[in-house]
């Protein structure tokens, strides 16, 4: 079922690294409310699942401030998000592949089957470590071993990402590959694997471009509240504006079945891929680079 979700909301995003566009909503009597433009329709989509919708998708504009102009970014872009209750991220990877193949077929093009690799196997192959057994110390040693620059302030997550950027991402450049099962510190909105070491999250790298980010969604409202509070504290620490925790979302989360999957796919990037363009400005004639 196609749904429409609001672009203007009271609590656009808690993610510490994102910068939503902020505004105020004012009633004729002068009452004002803090508001922002969505960075993703995720919160609204999950509310609809909690209200009983089973399989939903939306094609919507989303907004992110503090983004580059051009190359693979634009402050306003189009997102396709879809969710299904009762299914996990393995089914979602298949659906994603089918969708992209169908799109290529519509353009008279065919593509090779997609590869699928877990982060643990990629780290084994290109970094030479067992990710499940690697804490901060092991990750730091691996960086030193490979001559990768580190900083004293690095967290486990930062060291992981340094290794990923330097040793793994360049290996994905010519492939269509699902990279899945992220370490817990890189998978905040997903359900955990049985051994609790990995989160059920995947990213699709299409010829080196990050095309989508999918999850078996976290449906536990207690855990979700903890993560929201943590993210709010992070925002405060970074001196970024905070938004109220979305209580409606938390109260509806418990009504979503486990497992349920959700995927967010950048439509403009998909457009670039299928038309062989290397810059997002080539598929957005009135992109931010032109407008500002």
């Amino acid at each position: 079922m196609e749904v429409e979700t609001p672009l203007l909301v009271a609590s656009p995003d808690m993610e510490p690294m994102l910068t939503p566009f902020e505004t105020m909503v004012t009633k004729p009597d002068g009452t004002s409310y803090q508001a922002g433009l969505i960075t993703s329709p995720e919160y609204s989509m999950k509310k609809l699942l909690g209200l009983g919708a089973q399989k939903i998708f939306t094609l919507t504009k989303v907004f992110r401030n503090n983004e580059e102009f051009g190359n693979t970014h634009n402050p306003e872009f189009t997102m396709l998000e879809w969710y299904t209750q009762g299914q996990d991220f393995h089914v979602l990877m298949q659906e994603t592949e089918d969708l992209i193949k169908a799109l290529f077929a519509a353009f008279g093009k065919t593509i090779e089957p997609f590869e699928k690799k877990s982060l643990a196997s990629l780290f084994q192959e290109y970094v030479g470590i067992d990710l499940a057994q690697s804490g901060k110390e092991e990750l730091k040693q691996a960086c030193e071993h490979h001559g990768i620059h580190t900083d004293a302030s690095d967290t486990e997550s930062d060291l992981f990402y340094r290794l990923f950027l330097a040793k793994i991402e360049p290996m994905l450049a010519n492939k269509n590959i699902f990279v899945h099962s992220y370490p817990v510190y890189q998978a905040a909105l997903s359900r955990l694997s049985e051994d609790k070491k990995f989160g059920e999250r995947f990213e699709l790298y299409f010829q080196g471009l990050e095309l989508c980010n999918g999850f078996t969604e976290l449906t536990d409202p207690v855990e979700q509240r903890k993560r929201f509070e943590h993210e709010r504290d992070e925002r405060l620490k970074l001196g970024k504006p905070t938004f109220p925790i979305d209580e409606t979302l938390l109260s509806l989360l418990a009504s979503i079945r486990n497992p349920s999957f959700g995927n967010a796919l950048g439509v403009d990037r998909l457009h670039m891929i299928v038309t062989n363009c290397s810059n997002i400005d080539d598929v957005l004639p009135l992109s931010a680079s032109v407008l500002f």
């Binding site: 990768i148 620059h149 302030s153 967290t155 930062d158 340094r162 890189q186």
Partner: protein, 188 residues
């Protein structure tokens, strides 16, 4: 002390006493957690290009450099000479220091020279440069209707780029120096 978020093209970074000039950079973020700045930079002493990823929260040491608007005059074998139009001061830079920029140079072009301790170390080009097409095949009738047909064109500095079929010899176009691609036709 500076932040990786302030990195720009031609920023000069001091990493453990070695100086690097930024050739290209891109912000990347893992979806969760800190964002990073992926930086391609050239060692000013060895000329070696390397990639380094800096976390946004790191502190870096930027070298004090001056940027001077200058005009390209000529090249003499291995040296490229530029002039400051207000002071008539001239500087020369070696081929190796500006290798990526050389195909875009043309006489009289305004560029920015990066100066460190009084020495020219690099140049940075405008993002778009205007050129005149000296030769391109005339458009074949019918070709233009189907849209994205491109053909080769030679420009007034010898550079060759692909342009849309409707563009003719003698016309002016803009070329993006980041991508090396045609961007638009300039109305005369």
């Amino acid at each position: 002390m500076s932040s990786p978020n302030d990195i720009k093209k031609s920023t000069v970074i001091n990493v453990n006493g070695e100086l690097y000039i930024v050739i290209d950079f891109q912000r990347v973020s893992p979806g969760k957690g800190s964002s990073f700045v992926r930086t391609r930079m050239k060692n000013l002493k060895t000329g070696k290009v390397m990639e380094n990823n800096f976390k946004s929260a790191e502190t870096l040491t930027f070298e004090d450099v001056q940027y001077k608007r200058m005009q390209y005059l000529y090249n003499d074998g291995n040296l490229y000479t530029f002039m400051d139009n207000s002071s008539y001061e001239q500087v020369s830079i070696g081929k190796a220091e500006i290798e990526e920029s050389i195909p875009y140079l043309k006489e009289g072009l305004e560029i920015t020279v990066v100066m460190h301790n009084g020495n020219p170390i690099s140049i940075s080009l405008p993002q778009k440069i205007q050129y005149t097409i000296t030769y391109t095949e005339p458009a074949v009738k019918g070709d233009t209707a189907s849209g994205n047909v491109m053909k080769e064109a030679e420009l007034d500095n010898g550079l060759k780029v692909k342009v849309p079929a409707f563009i003719n010899s003698g016309e002016d176009i803009l070329v993006n120096t980041d991508t090396g691609l045609y961007t638009e036709r300039v109305a005369k």
